[in-house]
Every structure is written in C-alpha cells, then in structure tokens.
Subunit: 398 residues, 2 copies
C-alpha cells in the first residue's frame, strides 16, 4: 500500500475539496520571501481584490519598491497586482523581528502563506524575522535550550489560582543546582504569555546564556491583570476576546499580592533566595509595577529594570491613592540606602512616556541616586523591549 | 496625571492612526456571538467585499440561516451583507470545539474580531467553543490545573536535541509523589504542540482528573517528525513554513529511537516505571507509531490506544521494510502473551483508514486477541480525536 500517496488526496477531503471552487492554492505562494541585503518580498494571491496594502510595524520603515504617491497614510504600503498576485518588496530592513498584515479591500488579513502569527493584546499579526544579529538573539539557535513551564499558583490574597510562565535554564533538569531569578512583567493588555511570545524572552535567554553573556537564571513571567487569572483563552472565562483596559489594574492590588508569587516560586523551584539573586523588570505597566514593587519590598530585589516604564500613579476617583504608590521618593531613597546593585532604565526618544521618565530621572539625580540609563530610537514598542531585555539580562547576578 | 486617559490615544498611535483611513473599527464587531440552543452568529465588516463565505469544520454541519442555493460547494456557507457587515448564523450545533475562517473575495481570512487562532499543519483558523458538555471537557474549568512544560531531550540516536511537551498533573509541584505516564503521539504534519493546542489534552486531563474520572498522570507529547527537532517556529530552522509531507517519517527511525524519550522522562520526572504504569496512544500516524512501538517493546507499555490509526507500513523504494515493521502479527501476539491490560481502537465510520482498521481487527479476532473498539460518526478529524482521548484516559492505570 502506497501510504504516502493514499494520504494526500483523502486526508483533508472533507474540508479542502468542498472549498476548491473558491479557494486558491496558497501553497504556491511564498510569502514572506527573504532576499539579499535585508529585503523581504510579501505576496498574496487575491485576483478579485480591488486594493491590497501591507501594514504592521514593518511598514514604519517605508523603504521598498512601492509608489509612495499611492499611500493613503504613512505606514500603509500599497501592493501591486499582476496575474492575481499582489506583491511588494521592503528594502534595507535591519535584522529584527517584525509583524505585518495585509489589508484586502478594507479587511485585515493575516498572510495565508505564513503560519507564524502572534497576538498583541486584541489583534493577531504575522511574524517575519530578518536574518542577522537580532535574529541570532531572538531566533532558536543550535544551543542548549531551557525549559518553559506554564503553571498556576494559589493566591490567598485573591482567593483564586493564577497562571504564570516560568523559564528554567538548560541544566535545571537533571541537576540539583539552584539559580537566581528574574521576575519579568508585561504591559497593559498583556499577560503571562507576552514576554515568551512577543518578547522572545526564551530565545534571548537561551542565546545569551549559551554565549556566556548571561548567567543561567530562572525567569518568572506572571499575569499582572488582577481581573483575570490567565491569558485570554487560558482562563476560566473561556475563549473571551481580550481588552486593553481591564478593571482592577494599577490599583495597588498586584503589588500587594506580589510576595505570593515569590513565595510560590521559592517553594517549588530550586532558587537562590537572597536579594542579590533576585531581579525584577517590566515594560510599560510592568515597569510601573517593577518600580513600586521594588520600592515596597526593599529586601526583595537587588536588581531593578524599567523598560519604557509608566512612572506616575493615575488619579483615583476616591481621591485616595493606595499606600503602595505613596511616598515614592522616600521609598526609592530607602531602596538605595539598603543597597541595590542595579537600577536600569531604558526608553525610546519618541515614547509618550519619555517626559515622565525624564522627570523621574531628575528626581533620582537630585537625590544622587545612581542608575543606568539607555535611550534608544523609536517609541513604545516590542522592538525596544526585546532590545532592553537583551541589554539588561547580561548585567544580572555577576 | 490621568494615566488611563493618556494611554488611550497615544499607545498605538504609530500603527493605528496611520491606518485609520482604511481600517474599520473591528472592536465594534462581535464575532462569534453565542445565541441560545447551540446557535452561533458570525460577522465580518467588509463593505468593499463582493462575496464572503464561512468555511472550516463548523461548515460541515450546514444548518443555519443561509440560502443553500447560493452555496458554491458543500460546506461553503454564503454570508449576507447589510450596511457593510456580512453575517450568517449556524444553528443546532452540538457542544464542541470548532474551527472556522472567512473567505473574502477568494482570500482566506481569520476573523479579525476573534483572537483565538490555532494552527493545523499549514493553515491557521479561528476557534469557537459551543457551550455544553464538550466545552466542560475541552475548556478551562475552575479546577486544580496541571503544569505544562516544553523541554528538550538529547537524542544520541539522532545526534540532536529534540523538543517535547509534558503535562504534569495538579499536585506534581510541591509533592514527592510519582505518577504513571501516557505517551501521546501526533499525526502526520503535526508536532509536539498538536495535542496540547488542537487536541485540548491539557484541559481534558485537568477536567477528567478533577472529576475523579481519570487517575492523575503525566502526559508526554513528543515530536514524531524525525526530519525536524521541533515544531515550525520552535526549531533551529527558524520561521519555516510547515509541510504535511516530510522526509524521514514512518521509516522506522522514530520507533527505534523511542526508548530515548522514555529514558529522558524517567530520569527527569517523578514517574512510575513499570509497564502497567505506562500507556501509549496516538492519532493517525501516531496510532501507527503506537502500534509498532508497543509491539517492538513488549515490556514497555501496559496500555495501547490507536485513534484513527494508520495500520500498514508504506512500500519502501528499497523493497526492504525496516525490521520494526516486520512480523506485525507475531509481535502483537507476543505483546498479548506477555500481558497488556488494554488495547483500545477508535475510528470514524467515514475515515479513509476505516478499511485498514477493519482488516487489522479481523487479524486480532482470528488470533483471539481481546481489544476494546469504539466506532463513531465522522472521519479523520480532531473532533473524533479529542473524543477518543476523553474515552481512553479514564481507562488507564486503574
């Protein structure tokens, strides 16, 4: 029996054959296609479409073979049609991980020729990795790999079980060694999957550790939305659609319950438990959480990282700010008085939080508090946060 | 500072504002929408589209408020347009997990209002769960949850590291108890993510264990494609596009290297290591692997499950069949002679492998070998495999 041949026409007969009349053969379309010198060609078979555009964070680069006079808006890249295939080439892209989509007659489409998709808050996009340095850092390399676990901790404070993601470095399994721990926090609208999916934290850690540029460490990625116990689709709310704004966020509850996470991790994994073996860092809302958690528990973390961090608490309708957000200046001074090995801040020059960060730096300067500051191009985006993580991690636990 | 208000217009300014001219506000579209009595309404905002269809495994049911005379083919459901919104209602759906997509002017689109997507071999679809019994089994319930780890084992046989997924039941962390192990194998074109993503194995195990219907157990989900060391996007091949056919599959190599997986699991996790504490099961190609692995190592597994299994080896160009596939009948007889507690087979009446399974059953009957057989409606599809797993797991280790 020719098993391979037999499978081919029959395996998907019920779904595919019914659709043949209207469905083109996407298998013949290669998209994205990597060309030399950081060029990438995108293609879509859509003979009945009137107009197709390329969008996504890749479109901000605006270099390629398209006619800019046909752009309806900056960052919306017109594609050209020939024999039913729409295409455009983007040129001189820096090595990095980009996201993109197509817009077909006004409808956002993920590329049917590219299965690599990722969710960012409430929308799904395709991923494309331009080869080079960043790809070597954000891609899966032929190096020893860590393990990634999703598990649930009991929160007595919230009276529920909450999901988190934990990275265990290569060597954790099959040894009895204990490791330092980085707590890595997501931004608003994110969850316990953000850093491992969009942030490429697993690949970054694997690669930096294998290159000898970072110490082997455990990385804990919790869920910072207190109105949810897990990411959309992984919670008891079922296949809910995510919201950017959730109630019960940045109201002090996450910070107050945070020791439960540390307690769970220290009880269930082989961790080093002194302050100089613990780091906390986060992006945007996660930077805000890192700032106030480290200040609230000055004995907990020896290393703090604020990536494009929100700095100031919001106004509370009650007019009463939670205690964890009050007296920031005095608490940060105390954190340094008790000894912190690294206070790291990174932000992009176009970030809408730039001014708030500048004022916070002035506050630190006025108090003669030492910190490390990295300013990059760009704004409030994952391109920067992957970069900041890659700069921050090598400074820890050495 | 009104932090919440400030975030709103600026957070995604660079990507969203540029696209406003051409991008509708998908947030206003609710899709899918669950109505009473197993009805689900699907919607897409596409004012410029000429024709929109609903496809996917949900479309096979062909009950709803559409005009069948407008169907270009069975299973392709026409949607109706009103004020730019296309919609269709599907009725009387059994409680289950379904996949769907839209076809917009000939282009396959995942629903922009639904972030829940899943990859099946080389295409990405949306998921929708119709409430009821199956949802209670395949959904995340408010019960104690197991942990899910992806890790890598060293294969000396293949001289590489290979990725696998492992489910650890609730109670594994924080105890020193040892557990029985189910090895759960995917089909052709699948990988180490198939059972946990498409197969809902994590939710099924959590729910059955919590209901007292299954013993707490470890579930190991390896990668059965010997030409790959991990799923697409997780391997050293980068963001490659998956193929249904891969070289180096069903050629005996996976079966011969399989003891390396068992050795890795027994060395790194708290397992019960006797044959009656080990089960193997798989779907399609994974059923084929389960058949020949259990027969090749009669001391390894006390429980065997063949879900819509491929039965017969393909013809080899060399004319020489690998030893692991030869003398099947004698080897299966020996497996039973040495004692196997359960030999379980399930298949759908429309499955293209139905006849091969029927012949295999006749072979077992002729040899007076006892097995448990379940025949269902439908064919070679995940709807059946999730069902078979839910029937098989309660029979293990009791």
């Amino acid at each position: 029996m020719k098993f391979f041949l037999l499978l081919s026409p029959l395996m998907f007969a019920s779904s595919v054959m019914a659709q043949e009349a209207i469905r083109p053969d996407h298998a013949k379309i290669i998209s994205p296609e990597h060309l030399e010198h950081g060029s990438v060609r995108f293609r879509l078979y859509a003979p009945d479409a009137k107009k197709v555009y390329l969008i996504g964070n890749i479109s901000r680069f605006n270099k390629g073979d398209f006619d800019a006079s046909e752009q309806p808006a900056p960052g919306v890249i017109p594609m050209r049609e020939s024999e039913g295939i729409w295409e455009v080439r983007m040129d001189s892209l820096a090595s990095d991980l980009y996201t993109y989509k197509f817009v077909v007659d006004g409808v956002e489409v993920v590329d049917p020729a590219n299965v690599h998709v990722v969710r960012d808050v409430a929308s799904v996009s395709n991923m494309v990795m331009v080869p080079g340095d960043a790809a070597g850092l954000y891609g899966v390399s032929d190096v020893p790999h860590g393990s990634v676990m999703t598990t649930w901790y009991r929160s007595a404070f919230n009276d529920n079980d909450r999901r988190l993601t934990i990275y265990l470095p290569s060597g954790y399994l099959g040894s009895d060694k204990s490791y330092p721990v980085l707590y890595l926090l997501h931004g608003m609208g994110g969850d316990e999957t953000s850093w491992s999916q969009l942030g490429r934290a697993v690949e970054i850690l694997d690669n930096l550790i294998a290159q000898g540029k970072a110490e082997p460490m455990i990385v804990v990625m919790p869920n910072g939305n207190m109105a949810r116990n897990a990411a959309p689709g992984n919670s008891t709310l079922g296949l809910e659609q995510p919201d950017f704004y959730l109630p019960h966020t940045m109201d002090g509850v996450y910070e107050r319950h945070f020791p439960e996470i540390v307690e769970f991790v220290d009880s269930n994994f082989r961790t080093l438990r002194d302050k100089n073996s613990r780091a906390v860092a986060g992006l945007s809302m996660g930077g805000f959480h890192s700032l106030y958690i480290s200040a609230a528990y000055p004995d907990m973390f020896g290393y703090v990282g604020l990536f494009s961090a929100a700095i100031d608490p919001r106004e509370f309708n009650s007019g009463v700010m939670p205690e964890v957000y009050s007296d920031r200046r005095a608490k940060v001074r105390r954190l340094f008085d008790e000894g912190v090995r690294l206070y790291w801040m990174g932000i992009g020059e176009d970030d809408f939080l730039y001014e708030a960060n500048k004022k916070f730096r002035a506050e630190l300067d006025a108090d003669s508090i030492p910190y490390k500051y990295v300013e990059t191009k760009g704004g409030h985006e994952w391109t920067n946060w992957r970069h900041y993580l890659s700069e921050y991690v090598p400074l820890l636990f050495r």
